[in-house]
């Protein structure tokens, strides 16, 4: 059943906290997958996603959602920015301080291995470039959609993708040379 999330958001803004459950139920699967591909670890992904929903709820209550973009696009934007911030903090930590990736028991083994491989590929990219790769190549979004989420121009998205591809190519060449 398709639900107009803009109307649900208006109910939340007017004080109906329980209506927010509808927003979570309608969006959590897509957002969780995006968070997992960005963070490659279930504990971090769940933390960032939960934080995203709390931020969104507070923004709705404060009347800071202006309805210019769809609720789903707006949530994607909050989540992507939160992931970029979390990845920047992770990069500032030394390798010894970093916890081992943690995966929820319900995640199939093949998906876990894929997430590890993915982190191996994307781990060296700056968080902003990683976000572009995840949105464009893994989530299958157009440059226009990615630009709307990252709040930048389509040209900027494409430039970041070119730089990211170049880094990934170098990594592949290095691996093949070993």
């Amino acid at each position: 059943m398709s639900v107009d999330l803009t109307l649900v958001a208006t109910r939340v803004e007017e004080g109906d906290t329980s209506a927010f459950r509808e927003i979570v139920a309608q969006t959590e699967a897509r957002l969780y997958r995006l968070a997992m591909r960005m963070m490659a670890d279930s504990a971090s992904a769940e933390d960032v996603l939960q934080d995203t929903y709390v931020k969104a709820f507070r923004a709705l209550r404060a009347g800071r959602y202006n309805g210019e973009s769809k609720v789903t696009t707006w949530l994607h934007r909050i989540l992507t920015n939160s992931c970029i911030d979390a990845l920047r903090k992770r990069r500032e930590q030394s390798v010894r301080e970093l916890p081992e990736p943690h995966y929820d028991g319900a995640i199939p083994l093949d998906a876990r291995m894929a997430l590890r491989e993915l982190d191996g590929w994307l781990g060296e990219l700056p968080p902003g470039q990683r976000a572009v790769v995840v949105l464009r190549l893994l989530e299958g979004m157009s440059a226009k959609e990615a630009a709307r989420i990252l709040d930048c121009s389509e040209t900027a998205v494409e430039q970041r993708l070119v730089r990211a591809r170049s880094t990934l190519r170098e990594r592949r060449a290095a691996l093949e040379g070993e």
Binding site: R21, E28, E46, R58, R61, I107, A111, W121
Partner: protein
């Protein structure tokens, strides 16, 4: 499409089935309800209060400074007047050259 793109798309396919665990929605709603009860952290920042009361504080400080200057000047003027009145005679000694 580059070889790297193909490899990443294959990893995307293998992670397509990822779903949050069953209790996730309830955990999010519990956090949201807690956020609904507690005041947002932003309203507790000192800077916000200073920003709101800043203009009033500047006006009050200016009035207080002006009052201090006025009291100080009037006290000085009254002191000078008392000094002049307390002098009974004023004598000037002159020294003639060549004496």
């Amino acid at each position: 499409m580059t070889a790297e793109d193909r490899e990443l798309r294959e990893l995307a396919r293998r992670t397509d089935g990822l779903r949050p665990h069953r209790g996730f929605t309830n955990a999010v709603m519990a956090a949201v309800e807690a956020a609904d009860v507690e005041p947002p952290v932003r309203s507790l920042r000192l800077g916000d209060g200073v920003a709101r009361s800043g203009a009033v504080a500047v006006v009050l400080a200016a009035v207080a400074a002006a009052a201090c200057v006025f009291v100080s000047l009037s006290a000085q003027s009254s002191f000078d007047e008392q000094v002049v009145l307390s002098v009974d005679t004023l004598s000037v000694d002159t020294l003639e050259v060549g004496e």
